[in-house]
Amino acid sequence: MSAVFTRRTALRRAVGATAAAALGPGLLRAPLAAADAPRTTVQLLGTLAGTDARRAHGAGARTGSALAVLVDGDTLYLVDAGFGALTRLLQAGHEIKNLRHLCVTRQTIDHNADLGTAMLLAWSSGRNASGANADRRLGVTGPAGTEQHLRDLRRQQALTIDDQANALGQTPAFATYARPRDVRPPAGRSVIAYRDEVVTVRALRTLSAGAPALAYRIQTPDRDVVFTGSTGRRADLAAFARGADTIVHEVVDEQRARDAARTLGLGARATRRLIAERATPAAAARLAARALAQRLVLAGLVPGDTSDARWKRLAGNAFHGKLQVGHDLDLL
């Protein structure tokens, strides 16, 4: 079906054959009826960082960085959309039409590969009848380069976008629908990156220079989650993260990342950068302890095939809360 994803979206909607029908155990929970039921579901979609996708295939496959935050069962926020994020999103039973806002920590492929596709898919999930839902918008916030990324995407996918608009009458225009915004917090200070009646998202700059990155803190009515992205070694997230219930921290296993880089043929400089852009598990544990978090989740892993036991060993004993090694589709 052509233009953009009408084949998947229209038919998934029309025939009612959503992935939710095939939900396996451990995936999305049905909304609970009790008055004190949690309003927010936080789910890891992808848990791999870096570009060494070959390390993470097979049964324990990890896909690129991505986190889903679902509020009240029908309002969906996505933090990062690395390679495979959309596959995981649908696998988990989330519906793209529920997507309210996206936040990207970094414009590299482990964090943004599925961003453009997610936006195209969300756009074409709207009704095709001319005029219907013409006021729909979808925002994406990210570090400097996010607006440029969407411009490049529109240029690259002009044929499919134009065809969806002209031949199928999709409204509004994609350029109107997709609202990217570069967020540039001053050094060491967080800013509100996004807010609506359900969530508030704050952003803190972590990496700068040629590869700017943001950490996010996502506050919903009943959850408070920090998603660090690539932090490098100098960023101090303790004040930013203090009081969050959960910290999802990108980490590197230095020794095994070095070994992996060697088998890939990465040069010494590239290997140093791969490692320097990420925190060690021990540093993540120290941060979680200082921030008084209840739970630390290691996700955004480099490399993707270090064992859970080794990650926990590397994290050491600094953090006394719940320490968890994240896997794709884990509910947090």
Binding site: A14, V15, F83, D152, Q156, L159, A167
Partner: protein, 263 residues
């Protein structure tokens, strides 16, 4: 769709989920040499940027992307779209630049490609021919892959106005897209009160009915017909129903495609 010949990987189209599926299937991006795009609707190219970027950063050998317009623009824009990832790999790695290792082989939709089909690759392992099909206003082709022991034709997205019978004649397998329009229409009416006439026309005219698929397979004399690009999508729609729709027009072996199915 992937085709493996002597351990080398050839990929046909690259829609959303392709990279995840490739990795899940254990197929090594390092073995990828050629990608063929039938047309540039996003459900056929959405993962192409990711695939080419990861192949480059993983040290894969040179890759050529074949396809109709705008394949060339797609590949050159990718260098901008993923400038941070590719730029870092170029700057820090020992490899040649992305634009030197990742090339497009866009072919114009004129000449033989519009009539009987035209060879777009012959690398000693596989010969690939392309033929123009009718998918509304978007440049679209079908491909035929001849390997030492297989001969498979893929329809791409095509309406019923032009039959693939001549192009597919002699293949051992015809992989054909299919739509059950009456079911789709009824579902659209039931769930959202219908759809715009443009959209309905597109569904009906730019995709192929089971009758079109069955007749093409019969006229081409192929022993096996694989139905793919199923509309409605496979979940909740029984294979037996597809078979019964095709049965009046084709007596051969019918396979209903699934993700990761080996044929």
């Amino acid at each position: 769709m992937s085709i493996v010949v002597d351990g080398e990987l050839y990929l046909l189209d690259c829609g959303v989920g392709t990279v995840a599926r490739l990795l899940a299937a254990g197929l090594d991006l390092g073995r990828l040499r050629h990608v063929f795009i039938t047309h540039h609707h996003a459900d056929h190219n959405a993962d192409l940027s990711t695939l080419l970027t990861l192949a480059y950063t993983s040290g894969a050998p040179d890759i050529t992307v074949h396809g109709p317009e705008p394949t060339a623009r797609f590949v050159t824009t990718l260098r901008d779209l993923q400038r941070q990832t590719i730029g870092a790999a170029e700057q820090l790695g020992a490899r040649r630049r992305f634009t030197a290792t990742t090339r497009s082989a866009e072919f114009p939709l004129t000449g033989p490609v519009t009539a009987e089909g035209q060879t777009v690759l012959d690398d000693g392992r596989v010969q690939v021919t392309a033929k123009v099909v009718d998918h509304g206003g978007v440049p679209s082709v079908a491909y035929r892959f001849r390997t030492p022991d297989r001969d498979v034709t893929f329809s791409g997205d095509t309406g019923g106005r032009t039959s693939l019978a001549d192009f597919a004649r002699g293949s051992d397998t015809l992989v054909h897209e299919v739509i059950d329009y009456p079911t789709v229409y009824a579902a659209l009416v039931a769930t959202q009160g219908g759809a715009s006439q443009q959209f309905l026309d597109h569904l009906q005219q730019d995709h192929s009915s089971p009758e079109v698929c069955g007749r093409a397979a019969t006229d081409a004399g192929v022993p096996t017909l694989v139905l793919y690009h199923l509309i409605p999508a496979a979940t909740g729609y029984p294979d037996a129903l597809w078979r019964s729709h095709v049965a009046p027009y084709y007596q051969g072996n019918v396979v209903v495609a699934k993700d990761l199915l080996a044929i």
